[in-house]
């Protein structure tokens, strides 16, 4: 298991979201679950907590998360990830799904 925490600069989240939290994905082989919640501090950063069963890919994780924080206004959110070996492209997809559910609802 590898565990790390990091905050990435991001534009603030819209002031209104459909729900206070959203979940995307599932902890299965080659998959992950992303829990996205309002209420992270500060409002200009996306706070990330990652736990993965596959050690040694921290650089890829940081790149995927930084990229998402750059492209989406996700400041003031807390991202918590339970991972079981998802490829980077799936990490991005799950982040987008969770973000979409947070903004528009429908978990």
């Amino acid at each position: 298991m590898e565990k790390f925490t990091k905050a990435f600069p991001s534009k603030p989240l819209p002031s209104k979201t459909a729900s206070p939290w959203a979940l995307a994905g599932v902890v299965g082989s080659g998959n992950l679950e992303v829990l996205l919640e309002r209420g992270g501090r500060p409002a200009t950063a996306m706070e990330c907590h990652v736990e993965t069963s596959i050690p040694g890919y921290k650089a890829a994780w940081l790149a995927a998360l930084a990229d998402f924080a750059h492209h989406y206004p996700a400041g003031g959110t807390k991202v918590t990830i339970n991972d079981q070996g998802a490829p980077p492209v799936l990490v991005t997809l799950r982040l987008r799904q969770a973000y979409d559910h947070l903004i528009k609802g429908d978990k």
Binding site: W21, V26, V27, N31, E33, E51, T80, N82
Partner: protein
């Protein structure tokens, strides 16, 4: 229903949303509470925020229900300590509040990484189910995915008043691979999907009376199936248990030596095996003319 996503393709939360009245589901111990398995963490295995089960209360057709859905893709929907405690608590709450309890099953049984706590949790849940039944509080298991209901969860499902199944659902105790390992590939080939489904699938379980309804693989059909039983309960009495035992003895006598599942279908009143194989849900039921 063409174009609609099938019930077995939905995620656990989507299944709940699809069968509950719109917006009526209120989740208990939702993911932000992070009640996760301490054992998996110790073993270096990733945990899940809900420990593989979604529980809460909702309304179905305006009626209040306690509702749970297992998350099959997370360690096969297997029951660990937390997962089991959520399940036990939900059925206990159902007994306390006299509100029907519906479990959307998707589990291979106890989670081996935390076997003892899982076994105990399943036993406690069964006790809570029988508490519900003694109080005439309906308990319903929905078995509609190919992970199905096996091991302790297979037994637990049959403790409920009613079972609603689809042809995708499977119900048993030992899974096909386990049977093959003990009896040999010649006796039971777990790779033979037709054989596996014809012995443990929803259609066969309906014929044998282990499932009380066989419905189409859509959320609407599953909801209608559940609604049929929300106002009913089946008491556990000595007479009922003895009658059931007699039935099972008769079944064993009739089919104990059968080597082909078609013989069971035939014996239970299916005349046209081929047409019945292709039929689904109520069409199968109509063809089957449920035998005695």
């Amino acid at each position: 229903m063409t174009g609609a996503i099938l019930f077995h393709e939905l995620t656990a939360r989507q299944r709940i949303a699809a069968i509950a009245d719109k917006g009526s589901f209120d989740e208990l111990l939702p993911p932000p509470e992070r009640i996760t398995s301490p054992y998996l963490a110790q073993l270096g295995i990733p945990v899940s925020f809900d420990d593989g089960i979604v529980i809460g209360h909702a309304r179905i057709g305006g009626k209040k229900v306690y509702l749970a859905a297992q998350v099959g893709p997370f360690v096969g929907g297997a029951v660990g300590e937390i997962h089991g405690a959520k399940l036990t608590g939900l059925f206990k709450a159902a007994a306390r509040d006299k509100i029907p309890c519906v479990l959307i099953v998707e589990s291979g049984g106890v989670r081996l990484h935390e076997g003892s706590s899982g076994e105990i949790a399943i036993a406690e849940t069964m006790r809570a189910i029988f508490e519900c039944r003694a109080l005439k509080v309906p308990t319903i298991a929905v078995i509609a995915t190919d992970i199905g209901a096996y091991g302790g969860i297979g037994i637990l499902s049959t403790c409920c008043d009613f079972r609603v199944m689809t042809e995708h659902g499977r119900l048993g105790i030992s899974g096909p691979i386990v049977i093959e390992k003990w009896m040999g590939k010649k006796a039971y080939d777990s790779a033979n999907r037709a054989l596996v489904w014809k012995t443990s699938g929803g259609k066969t379980k309906y014929l044998l009376g282990d499932a009380d309804a066989l419905v189409h693989d859509t959320a609407d059909a599953v909801r209608d199936g559940i609604s049929r039983f929300l106002g009913k309960s089946s008491a556990v009495s000595l007479t009922a248990v003895k009658a059931r035992q007699k039935e099972l003895e008769k079944r064993l006598k009739k089919f104990g030596a059968a080597t082909d599942p078609d013989a069971v279908w035939n014996g239970m009143g299916v005349r046209n095996i081929e047409a019945a194989s292709l039929a689904s849900g109520p069409e199968f039921v109509a063809l089957a003319k449920r035998g005695k």
